[in-house]
C-alpha cells in the first residue's frame, strides 16, 4: 500500500513541475511582451512622419543623447570614483559620516533636482537677483550660465546618479588587499602612481558597471530633459506619440533607444562577470591613508561639496518653498495625490513581490534551463526606459481594446470602450514589467543565501516543498522580502514617464503633479509633492546605508 502511495506521488510530481515551469515561461513572456512589441515595430510600416523626423529632429535626438551619455559618464566617473577613493581608502575628519551621507542624492529624482536648481539659478531666482542687487546690473549686462540646457542636464543627472558608481567602486576598493597596494609602494611607486597604476585598474570592472547603470538611468530620464527642453530620445518618443499621434513611429524611435540601452546592458553584465576575477582575495581591508592638514581639509571640502550640491542644497530649497505655505500639505488635493501614489506603488510592489517569489522559488525548486532563461528575461526589465515600456504596453492594449470594441459593435451594436488601455491595470502592468527585476534580484539573492541543505533537512523531516516555503523560507527571507517591497514601492513612486503616458484620464500622482506644476513655472507649488517623493525616497537609501554600516562592522 505504501508503495502505491509512493507511485502516486511520483505521478503527480512531473505535472506539478510542468505546471510551475509553464507558469514561469508564460510570466516571462508576458513581461517581455512590451519589449517584443517595440522590437517588432521595426519590421512594421514606416509612416511618412519618418521623413519629417529624419529631416528635422532625429539628428538632434541621437547627438543630444550621445552628448548626455558622454557628459553624465564623465561626471559620474569623476564624482563617484573620487568619493569612493576618499571614503574607502583615506581617513579624514567626517569620513564615517560622508561614507553613508554621499548616498543621499540617490533619494533625489533627477527631474526634481532640475526644477529646484532652475528655481535657484534662473533669471528671477535668488542667485541672479542677488548678483543684480549687489552690482547694480540689469538684464543683459552680464553673462550667467543657462541652467536649462544640455550642460545643465548633464550636471543635474551626474549629481544624482554618481552614487551608482560610488557604491560599486567603493566596494571594489575595499576588496583590494593591502598587500597588493603595499607591493606597489615597495616597488617604488608613489601614492598617486599606485592609485592610477594599481588601484584604479583593479576597480575598472566596478567603474564600468556603475557608469553603465548611471547611463541607463540617463537614457531613461524623461523629466529632466523635457523640463530643460533638450531634444533627446525620450522626449522625442513622447512628442511623437502625444503631439503627432504616431504610436507606431514612437515605438520605432523607442526601438532605436533600446539599441543604446542594449549596448549598456551587455557592458554592465560583462563588467559584473569580470568583477569576480578582479577580486584580489584577502579579507583584510586596505589600511587607510591618513590625511592631515590641508589634505584633510581638501578631502572633507570635496565630499561636502558633492553632498551639498547633490542633496542638501536642493532639499533645503524644497523645504523653504514648502514652508512658505505649510498648510497646503493638509489640503484634500494633496492628500488625494499622496493616496493615489501610495495605492499604486503598494499594488505594484505587492504584484512584483508575489511574481518574484513565484519565479525565484520555481528556479530553486526545479532548476533547469527554462527557469533560468525565464528569470534572465525578466531581470532585463530594469534596463528598459519607462517611456519605451509605456509605448510597448500601449500598442498591444489599444489593439486589444479596438478588436473587442469592433467585434461588439458588429455583433451587438454596443461599444465596450477602453477595457485595458487607460486603466490602472495597464499602469500597474507597466510598473511590473519595469520593476519586477528589482524584486526578483532581491528575492533571488536572499534565497541564494539559504543553503540547499536547509531545504533538504526540512524535507527529510517530513515537509513538502510548499510548506517548506511557508515554514522555512519566508521566515528566513523576511528581510529580503521587505526590502523588495520597499525598493519597488519607492521606484514606482518616483517613476514619471510611464505614469505620464499610461495614467487614466484625470488620475494624478505626486510625480506627475510635480512635473506638471514645474512645467507651468509654479516651482513653489511643485515643491510639496517633490519633497514628499524625496522623503520617501530616503527610505531605501537608509536601508542601503545600514547594510553598508553592517558590512563595515563585519570587516
Amino acid at each position: 500500500m505504501e508503495i502505491a502511495a509512493g507511485a502516486e506521488l511520483t505521478a503527480k510530481k512531473p505535472r506539478r513541475i510542468s505546471l510551475w515551469r509553464g507558469g514561469m515561461l508564460v510570466t516571462s513572456l508576458v513581461i517581455a511582451l512590451p519589449v517584443l512589441v517595440i522590437i517588432g515595430s521595426l519590421f512594421g510600416d514606416y509612416s511618412p512622419a519618418w521623413e519629417h523626423l529624419i529631416e528635422t529632429v532625429l539628428g538632434d535626438y541621437v547627438v543630444n543623447s550621445l552628448l548626455l551619455m558622454l557628459g553624465v559618464g564623465a561626471g559620474t566617473l569623476l564624482l563617484g570614483v573620487s568619493a569612493a577613493w576618499l571614503t574607502a581608502m583615506c581617513d579624514f575628519p567626517g569620513r564615517r559620516f560622508f561614507s553613508w551621507a554621499l548616498l543621499l542624492p540617490m533619494a533625489m529624482p533627477a527631474y526634481i533636482i532640475a526644477y529646484t536648481y532652475t528655481g535657484m539659478l534662473d533669471y528671477a531666482g535668488p542667485v541672479q537677483s542677488l548678483l543684480r542687487d549687489t552690482f547694480g546690473w540689469r538684464y543683459g549686462d552680464y553673462w550667467f550660465p543657462e541652467i536649462r540646457s544640455l550642460g545643465g542636464a548633464v550636471c543635474m543627472l551626474s549629481l544624482v546618479l554618481y552614487p551608482y558608481t560610488y557604491l560599486l567602486v567603493r566596494v571594489a576598493f575595499q576588496e583590494q588587499s593591502t598587500a597588493v597596494l603595499e607591493a606597489s609602494r615597495s616597488l617604488g611607486k608613489t601614492l598617486p602612481a599606485t592609485f592610477f597604476r594599481v588601484a584604479l585598474p583593479l576597480a575598472r570592472p566596478a567603474i564600468a558597471a556603475g557608469v553603465s547603470l548611471a547611463l541607463m538611468e540617463t537614457l531613461a530620464d524623461y523629466g529632466t530633459v523635457s523640463y530643460f527642453g533638450v531634444s533627446a530620445f525620450t522626449t522625442g518618443i513622447f512628442r511623437t506619440w502625444y503631439g503627432l499621434g504616431e504610436l507606431q513611429t514612437a515605438a520605432q524611435l523607442a526601438a532605436f533607444l533600446m539599441l543604446f540601452v542594449f549596448i549598456l546592458f551587455i557592458l554592465e553584465r560583462q563588467s559584473r562577470r569580470r568583477l569576480r576575477f578582479y577580486r584580489t582575495g584577502t579579507r583584510q581591508p586596505p589600511r587607510r591613508i591618513v590625511l592631515r592638514g590641508w589634505r584633510a581639509i581638501t578631502a572633507a571640502g570635496l565630499a561636502s561639496a558633492i553632498l551639498i550640491a547633490g542633496f542638501l542644497l536642493p532639499a533645503s530649497q524644497l523645504t523653504v518653498w514648502v514652508l512658505q505655505d505649510p498648510l497646503r500639505a493638509a489640503e484634500p488635493a494633496f492628500l488625494q495625490l499622496a493616496g493615489n501614489s501610495f495605492l499604486l506603488a503598494a499594488i505594484a510592489a505587492a504584484c512584483c513581490l508575489l511574481l518574484a517569489l513565484f519565479l525565484g522559488y520555481g528556479k530553486r525548486l526545479f532548476p533547469g534551463f527554462a527557469q533560468t532563461t525565464a528569470n534572465g528575461v525578466v531581470s532585463m526589465g530594469y534596463a528598459v526606459p519607462g517611456t519605451v515600456i509605456a509605448v510597448g504596453v500601449l500598442i498591444p492594449f489599444t489593439w486589444f481594446d479596438n478588436v473587442v470594441d469592433g467585434w461588439l459593435r458588429q455583433t451587438m451594436g454596443v461599444s465596450s470602450g477602453l477595457l485595458l488601455s487607460g486603466t490602472l491595470g495597464a499602469l500597474v502592468f507597466a510598473y511590473v514589467v519595469r520593476f519586477l527585476s528589482v524584486s526578483l534580484q532581491t528575492v533571488e539573492s536572499g534565497l541564494a543565501r539559504i543553503r540547499p541543505s536547509i531545504d533538504e533537512s526540512a524535507r527529510s523531516l517530513g515537509y513538502a516543498p510548499l510548506s517548506l516555503l511557508q515554514r522555512i523560507h519566508i521566515p528566513m527571507l523576511r528581510g529580503s522580502l521587505l526590502t523588495a517591497l520597499l525598493l519597488v514601492f519607492v521606484d514606482v513612486l518616483k517613476e514619471l514617464p510611464t505614469t505620464l503616458i499610461l495614467r487614466p484620464f484625470n488620475f494624478n500622482t505626486l510625480a506627475v503633479r510635480a512635473h506638471e506644476l514645474a512645467s507651468d513655472e509654479r516651482l513653489a507649488d511643485a515643491a510639496l509633492p517633490a519633497l514628499a517623493i524625496v522623503l520617501i525616497g530616503l527610505l531605501p537609501v537608509i536601508l542601503l546605508t545600514r547594510n553598508l554600516a553592517s558590512d563595515n562592522a563585519a570587516s
Binding site: 508503495i3 506521488l9 533537512s457 524535507r459 523531516l461
Partner: protein, 352 residues
C-alpha cells in the same frame, strides 16, 4: 528477517556520468554502516539517493521491505522516514534549539512534542541549551542538535553526511565513538559517509569502500585492513607501498629480502608477485644483514617514518622507534616481517 535497509544493485547516472555503479548494501536493525572513499567516489550521491534527493537509474532501495526508489518510482524525501544529518548541520537559523529539534514532530500534540524534545536534548546532553539560538552554539553542540533533530521523528534509518568534517580534527574520533554509543543505545540503524578511515573505523560495524562509483569491498574494519579485496582497498586503507617481487618455489624473495609464509599456497619458480608493504611490515633490527639506504625520513614524535631504497630501485616505508635516527643516505639494518603481508597476483587479484 527483512533487513532494515536494502540497497540492491543501485546505479545513479547524471547524463553520461555514472556516479554510482551497481552498488549493494544490506544493513540489519541496529547496524551502523559506512560509505568510505576518496572525494568524487560517489558515496554522497548514494547517500542522497537513499534520502530521496537523487533519482536512481537502476536497482532498488527498500527500507524494512518498503520500496522507496526504483528507476520508475520515487517516494519523495518527506515521505521516507529517513533522517539525515548534514555536513554543514543545516540548522534553521530562525528557530531556537528546541524548535529545531521539534521541527519534524508537528504530528504530535504539544505536550508530547515537548516531552520528546526534552528527552532527545537530554540524550545529546544539551538540556541546558533548549532556548539557545543555533549561532550561539559551538560546532560540536550544533552537530548534536542536528543529530537530535534527525532522530526526533524516530526515523527507520539515519544518514550522516560527513558529520564530523567541519569539526576540529582532535574532536572527530572522540565524537565518532560517542555518537556510535548513542546510536547503539537506541539501536538506530545508520549509514555514515566519510573520507576519513579513522572516523569510519571508530563508528561503523561494516564499511563499504567506494571507488569510482563502485563498491570494491564491504567488510568489518579489521578485514578491510588485513584482507583487502584488491590493490585499491589495500592502498586506501592504512597506506603502504606496492612492490614487485620475484619468488622461488620456497617463497624466498629476490635479493634475500625475506621468506613468504607458505600456508596453503604454492609458488612457481621465478613467479612474479606484488606485495603490499605496510610501514609496520619492515622493522628495525640491529642484527639484520639486510641494510637499506635511507631516501627520506619524517619525524612523527613517537617514531620515524623512513622511506627506504630496495636494491632493485623500488621504495618501501618503514616505521622505526624515534631513538633510531638514521640520516638520509645512510644505511638502516631492517628485517622483513612478512607473516601478514598482502600478496597480489598480477595487478589487482589477491593471491590465495
Amino acid at each position: 528477517m527483512t533487513p532494515q535497509l536494502d540497497v540492491n544493485h543501485v546505479s545513479v547516472r547524471f547524463g553520461d556520468v555514472t556516479a554510482v555503479d551497481s552498488a549493494s548494501i544490506t544493513l540489519n536493525k541496529g547496524e551502523i554502516g559506512c560509505l568510505l572513499g576518496p572525494s568524487g567516489c560517489g558515496k554522497t550521491t548514494l547517500l542522497r539517493a537513499i534520502a530521496g534527493f537523487e533519482a536512481i537509474s537502476e536497482g532498488r532501495i527498500s527500507v524494512r521491505g518498503r520500496v522507496l526508489s526504483t528507476p520508475g518510482m520515487q517516494v519523495s524525501p518527506e515521505q521516507r522516514r529517513v533522517g539525515m544529518v548534514f555536513q554543514d548541520f543545516a540548522l534553521f537559523p530562525h528557530l531556537d534549539v528546541s524548535a529545531n529539534v521539534g521541527f519534524g514532530l508537528r504530528h504530535l500534540k504539544r505536550r508530547e512534542r515537548e516531552t520528546r524534545v526534552r528527552r532527545l536534548l537530554t540524550m545529546v546532553s544539551l538540556e541546558d541549551c533548549a532556548g539557545a539560538w543555533p549561532h550561539e552554539l559551538s560546532g560540536g553542540q550544533q552537530q548534536r542538535v542536528a543529530l537530535a533533530r534527525a532522530l526526533a521523528p524516530g526515523p527507520e534509518i539515519l544518514l550522516l553526511d560527513e558529520p564530523f568534517s567541519s569539526l576540529d580534527s582532535e574532536l572527530r574520533t572522540q565524537l565518532a565513538s560517542e555518537v556510535r554509543d548513542l546510536l547503539k543505545a537506541d539501536s538506530v540503524t545508520a549509514i555514515l559517509v566519510t573520507h576519513d578511515q579513522h572516523e569510519a573505523f571508530a563508528m561503523a560495524d561494516q564499511v563499504s569502500l567506494l571507488h569510482n562509483g563502485h563498491i570494491d569491498q564491504t567488510d568489518a574494519p579489521y578485514n578491510l585492513y588485513h584482507r583487502p579485496a584488491n590493490a585499491f582497498v589495500a592502498e586506501f586503507i592504512g597506506g603502504g607501498s606496492l612492490i614487485d617481487v620475484t619468488v622461488n618455489a620456497d617463497g624466498e624473495l629476490n635479493d634475500s629480502l625475506g621468506v613468504l609464509d607458505m600456508e596453503s599456497r604454492s609458488f612457481a619458480p621465478e613467479q612474479r608477485l606484488r606485495l603490499l608493504i605496510r610501514p609496520d611490515d619492515i622493522e628495525y633490527d640491529e642484527s639484520s644483514t639486510i641494510e637499506l639506504r635511507v631516501v627520506d625520513r619524517a619525524f612523527r614524535g613517537a617514531n620515524f617514518l623512513y622511506e627506504l631504497l630496495l636494491p632493485d630501485g623500488q621504495h618501501v616505508p618503514c616505521l622505526a622507534p624515534s631513538h633510531i635516527a638514521a640520516n638520509r643516505g645512510s644505511l638502516l639494518p631492517v628485517r622483513f616481517n612478512l607473516q601478514h603481508v598482502v600478496i597480489f597476483n598480477g595487478e589487482h587479484q589477491v593471491f590465495t
